[in-house]
Symmetry: C2
Subunit: 112 residues, 2 copies
Amino acid sequence: MSGDGDDAGALLDQPGSGEIELVKVLHALGDPTRLHLLRIYASGEQCDCSSERLGLGHLHKSTVSHHMRIMREAGITSTRVVGRNRYVQLRRADLDARFPGLLDALLKSLEV
Amino acid sequence: MSGDGDDAGALLDQPGSGEIELVKVLHALGDPTRLHLLRIYASGEQCDCSSERLGLGHLHKSTVSHHMRIMREAGITSTRVVGRNRYVQLRRADLDARFPGLLDALLKSLEV
DNA sequence: CAAACTGTTTGACATCCATCAAACACTCTC
DNA sequence: GAGAGTGTTTGATGGATGTCAAACAGTTTG
């Protein structure tokens, strides 16, 4: 059923847009797997955590969950719980507001 | 004396401008001390490693040397040996060429 | 309700990392 | 050349990290 009123799913805990710390963002992205995830989410994907589109088939599901948490707690992504799935999304507006130009520069750098 | 012909000092080993890897740069900057160093060097300083202007008096000199190496091997800084001093400098042009806009965005984000 | 599904949590483990301390290498100065 | 100065290298150590595996929790379906 639909639960207790949230028709779009509940949002997992995450830092407020003004609380995102640069050093945590950089630390989170200083890992190949999470940098790969940034690329995926930036392409507009909003897929669940076990999607094949993530390209993480070589990692255990608990490891993927671990990376998801790091990115969410750093303020890079937001996670919405819908049913038994988690939909992860890039916090593009929040990141742009806090660190103008950074995300765009990072995404452009990823293409190199 | 002047040594063997290098009047500006020898350059320590560093990756070529085309070999700088984004994930290594982000990993290097995902640390409070090194992010602090980035801010110092970006201000145009080109001081030796034990300068009080680095604001690292609380760290052992070998620890500072360790951070210097991480940043140099990531391609963020270049180190020139002059006499018994090491002059460290931000590789602004190389970083801009490889990752356009990234350094500016990072420095602007540091002001927040 | 039972079974399947999705993802988290906990534990274990090997590795990496930031830090300090001591020894070393190199350079400058006396 | 002896001593001082600057920074690196090596070793040690405690803490963080990435990974897997197993157990668990919530949800959907039969």
